[in-house]
């Protein structure tokens, strides 16, 4: 590998000084993404504004064997855009143009640095919107959404990012431009569109995205149901879906989350409830009316103590404002919090909630629960103070146990935030060594030199062997081919 000075010299032939950062104080703001517990100062930060510049940058990195970490808005919660000390951080922030909106085919062509919400704002004049709505949607970039397969509160009905994009233009580390997917609703060859979505910047650099747009629903109404037992609320989620309703959103908040959110944004939540469910129904006026009535009946039958239907659009927005502000609201309760992202089968919600309560007591740490309950996607927020020695480590251990339990009951360690660096050890729990080896082979098919975001998403087998908490399947020691340390 070449030294830093010579690398910077080569890059400076491509990029003006305003687009190439390499002094310590300029690099500092890029040391982490939204998982700020992990920080690394990169070798340099490149902020290209043309595809030609990206191509030239990748060519140098490929030639000199310098790893490349792509970064969008830096709102990721799993450290997927954490820089590498010996690597280049490639910011795609300047690729922020919506290139076209096709109101007839319900699609838009956008650059990777475009903010998620900006797409819906631009499409709204055509009566269309982009469905996936992660809670960071005012800031997060669509390129990052593709890299992480981002979700949001409307996934159960409208799907994740993978269901809402139809074409990508990407650049491989070898410098080849690929068009993946096409303008139609399927494409020949392997489904690399699905593979690329959620690949955490490890297969190729995204240059352009064609997203699918949907008609804005004519009517959306929300029910807020209160419960005096969080487990009963959990069961009510299954009851609603079991009766054939697919809500546009079905969110659960526990007592601590209700109080935190309501104190913060005055959403009108009942402080005496042990849990609330927000159930949104959208569609045509008649459909919404029919399903709203049915949902109300089911929720009552399932043990809701109080049911409120937002009386107008202002109140609907107010109900959602509490949910959308839940994370920052919890941030006011404690110096730090750690957000988990496990997903479980819905019928396990009550069971997993109990396990979280037990673990919370065992560790003496408060856990606040905010769930995308309709999807079985949990976001337990563990409160801690990073200034207290050892508390971050204890928190990570507690979080790890929650995720292990999610896997145990048939779920997964991450529903929408990605593995990144944060959950890389838990990957060893979810997958065996053959599966992990297969993942590495997939990466190698795109990136033989292992230069794109190495070390994220997929652990090395060595790492799994060293990480104690692996699962033992049928009494067989995992990764028997490796030496123990």
């Amino acid at each position: 590998m070449t030294d830093k000075q010579s690398f910077i010299k080569q890059l400076s032939k491509i990029l003006p000084s305003t687009q190439l950062l390499h002094e310590q104080e300029d690099l500092k703001p890029y040391e982490c993404d939204a998982l700020s517990a992990y920080t690394v100062i990169p070798l340099a930060v490149a902020i290209p504004e043309t595809v030609e510049q990206i191509k030239a940058i990748l060519a140098i990195c490929y030639q000199e064997n310098i790893p490349v970490v792509a970064r969008g808005a830096g709102t990721g919660l799993s450290g997927g855009a954490l820089p590498l000390e010996n690597g280049l951080l490639l910011s795609l922030a300047k690729f922020n143009k919506i290139q076209s909106i096709d109101a007839q085919n319900f699609s838009a062509v956008v650059q990777p640095g475009v903010r998620n919400l900006a797409i819906s704002e631009a499409a709204s004049e055509h009566g269309l919107y982009y469905a996936p709505d992660p809670s960071s949607q005012i800031a997060c970039s669509i390129g990052g959404n593709v890299a992480e397969n981002a979700g949001g509160v409307h996934c159960l009905k409208y799907g994740l990012t993978v269901h809402n994009i139809i074409k990508l233009k990407v650049l491989t580390i070898e410098g080849e431009e690929l068009t993946i997917g096409c303008d139609a609703f399927d494409s020949p060859g392997y489904d690399f569109l699905a593979l690329m979505t959620g690949s955490e910047g490890m297969l190729a650099i995204i240059l352009e995205i064609t997203v699918k747009l949907l008609p804005i629903p004519a009517v959306a109404k929300v029910i807020m149901a209160s419960f005096n037992d969080v487990a009963v609320a959990g069961q009510a989620v299954s009851d609603v879906i079991g009766e054939g309703i697919i809500p546009a959103g079905l969110e659960l908040m526990d007592k601590a989350a209700i109080k935190a959110a309501d104190d913060f944004v005055h959403a009108g939540y009942p402080h005496d409830a042990a849990a609330i469910l927000l159930c949104e129904i959208d569609g045509s006026a008649e459909e919404v009316e029919d399903q709203l009535q049915l949902a109300e009946q089911i929720l009552k039958k399932s043990g809701a103590t109080k049911i409120q239907i937002a009386k107008d659009e202002a109140q609907r927005v107010q109900f959602w404002a509490g949910r959308k502000a839940a994370f920052p609201a919890v941030g006011r309760l404690s110096p730090d919090y750690y957000c988990m992202d496990g997903t479980i089968p819905r019928h396990q919600i009550a069971n997993v909630l109990k396990r979280i309560t037990d673990l919370s007591e065992e560790y003496g740490q408060t856990v606040v629960n905010v769930f995308h309950a309709g999807d079985g996607n949990l976001h337990p927020l563990i409160l801690f103070d990073a200034n207290n020695e050892g508390e971050l480590e204890r928190t990570e251990e507690l979080g790890g146990k929650i995720l292990d339990y999610c896997v145990e009951v048939g779920g997964t360690i991450t529903g929408e935030h990605g593995v990144g660096i944060e959950k890389i050890n838990q990957m060893c729990h979810q997958f065996n060594s053959n599966e992990i080896t297969q993942f590495h082979a997939i990466k190698t098919a795109f990136d033989e030199k292992q230069l794109l975001n190495p070390g994220k998403n997929i652990p090395t087998l060595q790492r799994c062997a060293e990480f104690g908490a692996m699962h033992v399947h049928h009494g067989e020691l995992p990764h028997p081919e490796l030496e123990r340390f």
Partner: protein, 365 residues
């Protein structure tokens, strides 16, 4: 839940792959054989998955079913129907022997695709045997899962070239309370324009099919929503309600249009996929086209090769020799060179000895 035929042959199938690797014998994965026409002939020893059957997990309120690949599609759909649920991508059932494994491996989606999504959109996880005879599980049984690469959706349409499918976990959806099909006379461009408008108005259109100046449109929702939508359409067009079974013919591709007898001299059936508002091309007569997916999927009877025409219109074409009883080579739209290179590398990443369904999609990959 399991049915009478329930049988787990995972170990046996894995053993057969292991033997094939050892003996350097290429394998041709088969089950119902109903989509044999959809790709190149595979030169290899038959590996029959059809006895690997059974629904292994199904809790309707989870909206997820896990099913062994040899299970008959008809059996799976009947079980779902008994619980008022459906496979919303409506995979074609070409014959009584069609299996769910074949449906997923081929990745074909039916009339409801535009409303609900395609086959791959409903795959949550799968277990495969790769070309190293390893049994691997990817994805899961939950709605959201971003742990590791999305290898399970990669299997959809790969036709067994990356791995033998042992089981798949699929998202299922509730049946609509009611469905109505309307038939009306119009021209294609008018039909597409109105469909777009109706979708924006929130009409619950779950399928459309245009052929021979006739638009068939299916509405699926609650009674009152469907009834209001029918009134909206009737204000603009004279139309008749027809039997919903019309869509079975489209889904299963046994509607008259697909019959070999309806191909004229030198004509072949093509499946062309496009943006919805692509103009007519490739044929002059309307009755040589059947158009689904609000204009995005076009079945075209043509005596000309349509690859370059499809490409010109930003889409792709595939020769579709259903009911023709003869095999054709390299029926799919050729891939751009850089993409083909990655496709070849991906094949080797899963199947380094090229044992599994070699050359099924493309002679070169």
């Amino acid at each position: 839940m399991s049915n009478d035929l329930s049988q787990d042959l995972s170990n046996d199938l894995r053993q057969q792959v292991e033997n094939a690797i050892e003996n350097k014998t290429p394998l041709c994965i088969t089950a119902g054989g109903s989509k044999a026409f959809y790709g190149n002939n595979v030169d290899g020893q038959a590996l029959d998955v059809s006895k690997h059957q059974g629904i292994t997990e199904y809790q309707p309120s989870e909206l997820v079913v896990t099913v062994r690949s040899g299970t008959l599609l008809s059996e799976l759909e009947a079980e779902l129907k008994a619980n008022k649920q459906i496979l919303a991508f409506e995979p074609p059932q070409h014959t009584a022997n069609t299996t769910i494994g074949g449906a997923i491996a081929c990745g074909l989606s039916g009339p409801r695709r535009m409303a609900c999504g395609s086959a791959r959109d409903f795959v949550l996880g799968c277990t495969i045997i790769n070309g190293k005879a390893e049994q691997l599980r990817f994805g899961g049984q939950v709605m959201k899962n971003v742990a590791g690469y999305d290898a399970s959706r990669l299997m959809v349409g790969a036709q067994g070239t990356l791995g033998l499918l042992l089981d798949v976990s699929l998202k299922v959806l509730p049946m609509s309370e009611t469905e109505v099909t309307l038939q009306l006379k119009t021209e294609l461009s008018t039909a597409i324009k109105h469909i777009q408008q109706w979708l924006k108005q929130g009409l619950p259109i779950s399928a459309s099919c245009y052929t021979n100046h006739t638009l068939n449109i299916r509405l699926s929702s609650t009674h009152s929503a469907v009834s209001t939508s029918v009134s909206t359409i009737k204000k603009l067009f004279d139309c008749d309600a027809i039997d919903n079974n019309f869509w079975l013919g489209i889904k299963n591709q046994n509607h008259d249009f697909f019959s070999e007898n309806n191909l004229n001299n030198n004509q072949q059936l093509w499946r062309c996929s496009h943006q919805t508002n692509t103009p007519f091309y490739g044929v002059d007569e309307d009755n040589n086209q059947l158009i689904e997916w609000h204009g995005a999927l076009r079945w075209v009877k043509s005596s000309e090769d349509l690859y370059s025409a499809a490409d010109t219109h930003s889409g792709h074409a595939c020769l579709y020799p259903i009911n023709q009883g003869e095999s054709f080579t390299d029926i799919f739209q050729p891939l751009a060179k850089p993409l083909m290179k990655i496709q070849q590398r991906m094949k080797l990443a899963f199947d380094p000895d090229n044992i599994l369904n070699a050359g099924r999609l493309y002679t070169d990959a």
